[in-house]
């Protein structure tokens, strides 16, 4: 029998936990070494998970409205599945491809069983899996950051059931997948065993997150802080350099990929990574977020329309934690998420940055944790601060009464708002016009193989399944103007088309796309589904009468 000092009997090393001096966060409730074997944690997390799954899963295909971006990512995943490359049109380094490669993997089996299920509404079910994993990770992270059980549960609820989260997490957005990876990285960084390879794994997971959606880059400093706080003095330098190295090396695989394809630098006749980055950096700004009338202001209000509690409350929670840093154990334990919220807020406050609607997805878990942490901090202040053993009973009673009042007041504000928001999410049908349009184009057009139609990506796969030629038969409307490979097949412009499906997205962006604009102008509606701004019109190109009907 052989063993290392000072083993009692050649047991494996983990059995002989020789306490190294403690430098991890000291919480009031130390999380158990293994959450997996803690029955109350499993029970609470399991019950909450079911609730999250029900609220997010019910009616997932019909609400919210299909977005063009979802269709794009799914169509790209479809292209990966079909072995057609990394995108349904030329891949031009707009985003790293890892995100939709994962979607392709996740939807592989369902689409193999039933190819027709590879449509945006149907495949949102994949996102349900992602949300479930993320929600559990939020709970685990909360516990690892020394939150009491109820606060970790609160964080999970905020993250999973806030109407804003429900709307955004149902959609096939890369950000949702990236958030899952980042949460995994945070959980590994805060691993109670402080294992070198857990930290190494955190670096790998962070790289996967960044390669899924590059905007996650800004959260990495917060991850680093978390890892610093949770590593041990004696092994810290190995753990942190290991993590940074892992993250960097995996991150470098993206430029390496471009290099191997000969597409790293710009050149004639091919796309390049440098061009892609240049494009992303020079996207026209949407204005200052607090400037009424700017695009960013509109985006902010679209978030606040769904839920104010999580964004505003989370921000307030982050402020509270930063201010109480000196006194509050919880504040120090949650340094990582609070920093993440601070960085993401600072980035959103750029004077003229581009602020997409999905931007807040990356902040949701941190807002939830920070708000839960703030609640835990307040609860501790009310119930335990300056409390001595000999405290009079009426003082203790008053403490609990105050806590109850605060909890009830919070509940009275949140529950009705969330009830309304989530009821809409569970019952509304926002996608009927799309389904009807898809049905019409699948059944009323006689020769789909020879028909050319401009659509937004939300319908693109529907029409591929209906027999239209992918790419040049069913045409993603942007590409009619922007992709030389497509415009080459349309020498006569709009005259080479048969239909335009004027969805809200197509109508909105047509003003910047002359080809699409002309096609709409030279067409007449043959079927209209829905009313008002949300209507989807199927317009047939009118070649005989110049000027068309509009």
């Amino acid at each position: 029998m052989t063993s290392t000092l000072p083993a009692v009997s050649g047991a494996e090393i983990p059995a002989q936990r020789r306490p190294g001096p403690d430098s991890g966060p000291t919480g009031r409730t130390r999380p158990p070494q293994r959450l997996r074997s803690s029955r109350p944690d499993l029970l609470l997390c399991g019950v909450l998970l079911v609730a999250v799954l029900v609220v997010q899963g019910w009616n997932i295909a019909d609400y919210p409205a299909l977005s063009d971006d979802e269709g794009t990512y799914l169509a790209q995943a479809w292209a990966v599945q079909q072995g057609k490359g990394l995108a349904h049109y030329t891949y031009w380094y707009d985003h790293p491809p890892l995100g939709w490669i994962q979607i392709a993997l996740l939807s592989w089996i369902p689409s193999a069983i039933s190819p027709g299920s590879m449509t945006v509404g149907g495949m949102r079910i994949v996102m349900l899996g992602i949300s479930a994993v993320s929600a559990v990770l939020v709970y685990v992270l909360g516990r690892r950051l020394a939150l009491p059980r109820w606060a970790a549960g609160l964080g999970m609820v905020l993250f999973g059931i806030s109407p804003l989260a429900v709307v955004l997490q149902r959609e096939i957005f890369l950000d949702n997948i990236a958030v899952m990876w980042l949460l995994l990285a945070f959980c590994l960084a805060a691993s109670p065993s402080r294992h070198l390879w857990h930290h190494f794994g955190a670096g790998l997971a962070a790289a996967a997150g960044v390669l899924t959606k590059e905007t996650m880059l800004v959260v990495l400093p917060a991850l680093f802080v978390t890892m610093w706080r949770h590593s041990h003095r004696d092994t810290r330098k190995f753990a942190l350099t290991g993590a940074v190295t892992a993250c960097t090396l995996i991150g470098l695989s993206y430029p390496l990929f471009a290099l191997l394809k000969g597409e790293l630098f710009p050149g004639a006749g091919h796309v390049s990574l440098v061009d892609g980055i240049k494009y992303q950096m020079s996207r026209p700004g949407s204005g200052f977020i607090l400037d009424r009338g700017s695009g960013s202001y509109g985006v902010l209000h679209s978030w606040l329309y769904y839920d104010r509690v999580l964004p505003v409350g989370g921000l307030a929670g982050a402020l509270l934690l930063i201010v109480t840093w000196r006194w509050s154990v919880t504040a120090r334990a949650l340094a990582g998420p609070a920093l993440a919220v601070a960085v993401l807020t600072a980035v959103a406050l750029r004077p003229d940055g581009y602020l997409p609607a999905m931007y807040i997805i990356g902040a949701l878990p941190f807002l939830a944790l920070v708000l839960a942490g703030g609640a835990a901090s307040v609860a501790h202040a009310v119930l335990r601060r300056r409390r001595s053993d000999g405290e009079r009973r009426y003082v203790t009673g008053a403490r609990y009464a105050l806590a109850a009042v605060l909890a009830l007041a919070a509940g009275a504000y949140v529950v009705p708002h969330w009830y309304d928001g989530d009821r809409t999410a569970l019952t509304a049908d926002a996608n009927k016009p799309y389904r009807q349009a898809s049905h019409w184009l699948s059944t009323r057009v006689e020769h789909p193989r020879d028909t050319r139609v401009l659509v937004d990506d939300a319908l693109w796969l529907d029409l591929v399944h209906a027999g239209y030629r992918p790419g040049t038969g069913v045409i993603w409307f942007y590409k009619a103007d922007l992709d030389p490979a497509v415009t080459r097949t349309m020498p006569h412009g709009w005259r080479d088309l048969d239909y335009v499906v004027a969805s809200p997205t197509v109508r909105r962006d047509a003003k910047d796309l002359p080809g699409v604009r002309d096609a709409i102008r030279h067409s007449a509606p043959v079927a209209t589904f829905g009313t008002g701004d949300d209507r989807v019109e199927i317009r047939r190109i009118v070649t005989a009468t110049r000027g068309g009907a509009r």
């Binding site: 052989t2 063993s3 000092l5 983990p14 002989q16 306490p19 190294g20 092994t235 090396l249 695989s253």
Partner: protein, 422 residues
């Protein structure tokens, strides 16, 4: 197509090899608890074990006296020093006799073998040992005065049959290869050896190794025909289930120096590699009970050769990926071994920093640069030594190529001899 499959397979094999080696190399830093467990525990002042310390010395009159005097300063109450000298080496014998005359704890044993080597010398002394435990040191070792007390405590508290202390090369500033050589020792004794102890298969080091006298006699001492007799002893003892304990404390290690020239390093490394090969071929490791242990043994004893192989193939593989027109997926795979190599490099840099911290040595920026730039060249050296070892073993050349030392770790720079395999 076949080329692609071949390239992918080679890349994946290299990747796993490098990944495993890295995993084991980083063993001690896996968790703070593991790191804490690699140290000696503090002795309680109680002493029960008596030591016989073997000190083989050959043409080492310059350093021997200093080493003996330092050993005599040990705080432990019960030990004897047996200096083993050759019958044809009057200079060293005179120094040893003088030391024996000064202190009754020192004795001299004369080795009369015609062809001399270290295992023969220590075997000659074995019947003369009176202590419960036999310890081996080299004539130029600097031994910490409290080491014996710690080892005593380790024997008593763990029930070990063998205790291996740390050995550390210190003169990292001497040359580019001594820097890497020091770091090799650091990773080996600080980290990797503990993994071997835990897994139950351990190639022991050449000195600062302590074995219970009865266990050693039962095993018939060292193998006089093996070029890595220390490694062989460890393999034989752990294969029959003897308990080996490893402990490393930076202030308790035995300090040594790197070989004085590139050529002597090459010779030393050739001898170790050849020794490893001999141990592999002796097949004692096959008695290990678990398959995993046997796999570890196989892998460890083959390491020099795998190292040589990967040193040549990794750059070749990457070149193939860059210049041959292979599919992107296959090209990606060929970069995998390079990724592990990069991670290893980074950990080496951090290891050098930690080494400097542990030993209170100033590591300058230029040393880090040397470490990184010297990496590929050191790899070439290792590959050369591995090839040389195979060639010599094939030709049946088993003689010891001794290396000369300049005493860089001592205050006075004087010629001495070293034959300490790790």
């Amino acid at each position: 197509m076949l080329t692609y499959v071949l390239i992918a397979a080679v890349s994946l094999a290299l990747f796993w090899m490098a990944a495993f080696t890295l995993w084991w190399q980083m063993h001690a830093w896996r968790t703070p608890e593991v790191l804490a467990s690699t140290r000696f525990s503090r002795p309680d002042g109680d002493e029960h074990v008596s030591f016989s310390l073997l000190l083989p010395a050959r043409h080492e009159q310059a350093v021997l006296d200093h080493t003996v005097q330092r050993l005599l300063e040990s705080t432990h109450a019960d030990f004897e020093i047996i200096v083993i000298v050759g019958h044809d080496d009057p200079g060293t014998t005179a120094v040893a006799e003088r030391a024996a005359g000064r202190d009754p704890r020192v004795r001299v044993v004369v080795d009369t073998h015609e062809k001399k080597n270290k295992p023969k010398a220590t075997n000659t002394a074995l019947p003369h040992c009176r202590g419960d435990v036999v310890g081996v040191f080299d004539a130029e070792d600097q031994v910490h005065p409290e080491l014996l007390a710690h080892v005593d405590h380790a024997f008593r508290t763990t029930g070990a049959d063998v205790v291996q202390g740390g050995v550390q090369l210190i003169n990292f500033h001497s040359s580019w290869y001594s820097l890497r050589n020091c770091l090799e020792y650091f990773f080996w004794f600080r980290s990797r050896l503990h993994l071997h102890a835990q897994k139950g298969f351990i190639p022991l080091g050449g000195n600062t190794v302590f074995v219970r006298t009865d266990v050693l006699r039962e095993a018939d001492g060292w193998d006089p025909d093996c070029l890595a007799e220390d490694c062989d002893l460890g393999v034989r003892l752990s294969s029959v289930g003897k308990k080996v304990v490893v402990a490393y404390d930076s202030d308790m290690v035995t300090r040594e120096e790197t070989p004085g020239s590139l050529m002597s390093l090459l010779k030393q490394r050739t001898r170790w590699n050849q020794g490893f090969l001999q141990v592999y071929r002796k097949k004692d490791w096959r008695q290990l009970p678990a398959l995993r242990q046997r796999m570890l043994a196989r892998y460890t004893l083959m390491t020099p050769f795998l190292q040589a192989f990967s040193g040549v193939v990794i750059p070749l593989n990457a070149a193939v990926a860059l210049f041959l027109d292979v599919p992107v997926g296959v090209a990606f795979l060929t970069f995998l071994p390079l990724v592990t190599a990069a991670v290893t490099f980074v950990f080496e840099v951090v290891g050098l920093h930690d080494f400097g911290r542990q030993y209170g040595l100033r590591v300058r920026f230029v040393h880090y640069v040397k470490l990184v730039l010297g990496g590929p060249f050191y790899q070439v050296l290792l590959a050369g030594a591995a090839i040389r070892a195979v060639w010599r073993e094939q030709r049946g050349r088993n003689d010891w190529e001794l290396t000369t030392h300049i005493g860089a770790h001592l205050d006075a720079a004087e010629p001495s001899r070293e034959d300490v395999p790790a």
